[in-house]
Symmetry: C2
Subunit: 438 residues, 2 copies
């Protein structure tokens, strides 16, 4: 199995890398709605005995999974619309095991200004506003403060089950789960001394767009982190190097990357991003814009996969809740008529992805697979019909409405297994589907 | 901070990669006992907005940490001695955060035959011997069986506190911690049907050396995994792609990589590796050759680091036990005269690295920092003197003996902070130090 001649291998590797770096034309960056056309640009790894892989390990050349580049976009505002040179990308959920998302494959949302190239020796974090002692921390100073390491999911509000989602990456790929390490924001706020009357903080990024977000002070003092570590190494550039806010259980947009400034204030600010898109005068949009509700999705078998054989299979997926731990996951193989309890087969941690598994024998009949999550607060993940009824929405509104008029889309995602083993989306088709991320 | 001209960036990146791949001469592979001469060969990352980093994310160009290549070796047997083209490498513990070791930086021990280049479509696992139904599993079949995801440390028996260890990587770098996903071996053995009288299993690898190891059947039926996933993605080639044995809490050598065969037998085999080095007639070497005892080490501040300022610091490190969970970690700043309890600041999981932290004010005086671990079985990590006394060894024997005559080296590692802030090894010098890994 390792019989390839070394010099031949070296040639192959050199050629592959050169192709990836030199021959990749800007044309390949066109947002086509999928990664298939560009996946071949990731350098193949031909020789895991090479010295580079001793210093910093690599994947097998048989493993070529990539993130999926975001396609269509309905962004209307230039400062918010994606940068075509640096698009957003989704996590390939169906290909992953366990609960930790490999950092290289963790979804990343990018806006117009791309990723700043920050020298950590020059980066500082300012804490100011309604405090007794405004402070500026260097990265070295932050590293000398008490820290914690917490496993938390991070999800974009753009995730939504959809009849047109061909794969679980299409419907739920805007999320990941990492072990984050950093200083509790409460430690920094205690150092600065929060004044009476303060009720919110504003977090601001060092990117070209100066992304900002308002976070309730109670949350900031609870479990928010100023994170410099992700899965053991420094936070990567596309996740906010060298410093990001981590707001467990809240929408992705709260987790400000390239964190530069914390301002303590007495009201939420309508920052550019919030004003233009993420807050509207309609109070309905406020209904659950903080903690994500209980959620789960089957990643295997899931859309676009195929069962090749009758007999033993496993139904597996991820469950999570912005409110705390997952208590229980139930799986149905008959479209929700009956459920049975799945096993939680990995660590069960608060506000973290939780892996579930249920052995299943497939006899070749059609089946509709779906999961539902019960969290420790007693909240049960709703069906599409329950969700729509609760909020007084039609199906057309559910799928024809952009995110800013919709809440968290945590209804159940069914997958249909055909008698040929082909897995497709189990939601009924609708006429109009608007990209919820827009 | 992102003002570098794009074309300049592209030029830099292209140049760096080309240097890494083309200009790396075999001469750089000489085992010099450190990675400093070759670290520059890891391709620098100049542009995180490049399309390759969208598909598969990368580190900041300011983050250049690598594994440390193993240096000296006392291996006498050709099939066991390291392959100079593919040396072993240690985890850069002092640079890491949290408890999950980045897979690219996770230590890897390699023997003479290097890393096989296995096509998973052709790989199978055979279960045979004292079973009712000998079975052969393809990778696809294994993926259709019930699985679990568990966070576990993996440690080479070669880890040993040593007066000559300049850094924590030198003394303890032969370990890492990952989330492993795979099929419980008990599931496979139940499928095959273990016959009465069976008491051991033999695990065999698909590498050129056909590495084999005997594991007690009771352990195999307890928590051993046939793992295909590591930190969310397929196990990497240098960790056993596509399949490895994971034997939680046992010495690294039990965790057979590139797993090809499980044979159920009624006695441990003296396989080539075991016969030549890892088992000896001396019963003393059997004294604790299974579960690792309670252990811990301070990673910051640690050898070769320097405290640049008086005032607030944190003392942080890792604790672990092969027997279960860590119950408590205590830290001393006066060489063991007094201890105080550190906080466990991350997930506390069984047979997993556990991160601890203690705030500490450094006033500029000399200090000797050390930690000790108490595990849930009530076992307390010993000092060097306690360890030596218990086993009736002199200090010369402790450091002048190779691993096969020594047990697990879990005594306390002190680090000395000088008045200039320089951190050095706090163990008393000895004349003879033999590489315990030999």
């Amino acid at each position: 199995m390792s019989g390839t001649h070394p010099s031949r291998r070296r040639f192959l590797k050199k050629g592959a890398v050169a192709a990836g770096l030199v021959a990749a034309p800007p044309a390949a960056l066109e947002l086509t709605g999928g990664s298939s056309t560009v996946a071949a640009q990731v350098p193949a790894v031909a020789d895991n005995n090479a010295i580079e892989s001793v210093l910093y390990g690599r994947r097998s050349r048989f493993v070529t999974t990539t993130r999926e580049i975001e396609g269509r976009s309905h962004y209307q505002v230039p400062r918010i619309r994606p940068n075509p040179q640096r698009p957003s990308a989704k996590t390939p959920l169906a290909e992953l095991t366990g609960t930790i998302t490999p950092t290289s494959l963790h979804f990343t949302t990018q806006h117009y200004y791309g990723i700043p190239d920050i020298n950590p020796a020059e980066h500082t974090l300012m804490v100011e506003g309604m405090v007794d002692r405004p402070l500026v921390f260097t990265m070295d100073e932050l590293h000398r403060l008490p820290f914690v390491s917490r496993v938390h999911f991070l999800e974009c509000v753009g995730n939504r089950p959809s009849p047109r989602g061909a794969t679980v990456t299409a419907t739920h790929g805007r999320m990941g789960c990492s072990e984050w390490t950093g200083v509790p924001l409460s430690v920094l706020l205690a150092e600065a001394g929060v004044r009476g009357g303060a009720s919110w903080i504003i977090a601001e990024a060092a990117d070209g767009g100066r992304h900002t977000k308002s976070v309730p002070l109670a949350k900031a003092l609870d479990d928010v982190l100023v994170a410099y570590g992700q899965n053991g190494e420094p936070v990567r550039p596309d996740h906010g190097y060298p410093l990001r806010l981590l707001v467990p259980g809240f929408e992705g947009i709260y987790n400000v990357k390239w964190l530069k400034r914390i301002k303590v204030v007495d009201q939420p600010y309508l920052s550019f991003q919030e004003h233009s898109r993420f807050l509207t005068p309609d109070p309905k949009t406020q209904r659950d814009s903080y903690d994500f509700g209980p959620n789960s999705v089957i990643t295997r078998p899931s859309g676009d996969q195929r069962l090749e054989a009758h007999g033993a299979h496993v139904i597996s997926g991820l469950a999570w809740s912005g409110s705390g731990k997952v208590s229980r996951v139930e799986v149905s193989t008959d479209g929700g008529a009956t459920y049975q309890e799945a096993e939680l087969v990995g660590p069960v941690l608060s506000k973290a992805h939780t892996r579930f598994c249920l052995p299943w024998r497939w006899n070749g009949d059609e089946a509709v697979l779906q999961s539902r999550c019960l969290d420790e607060r007693g909240q049960l993940q709703p069906t599409e019909a329950e969700y729509a009824q609760y909020w007084g929405l039609t199906r057309g509104q559910l799928y024809g409405t952009i995110q800013s008029q919709l809440g968290h889309c945590n209804w159940i995602q069914p997958w249909k297994v055909g008698s040929d083993g082909k897995v497709t989306n189990g939601l009924e088709p609708v006429d109009v589907v608007v990209d919820v991320h827009a």
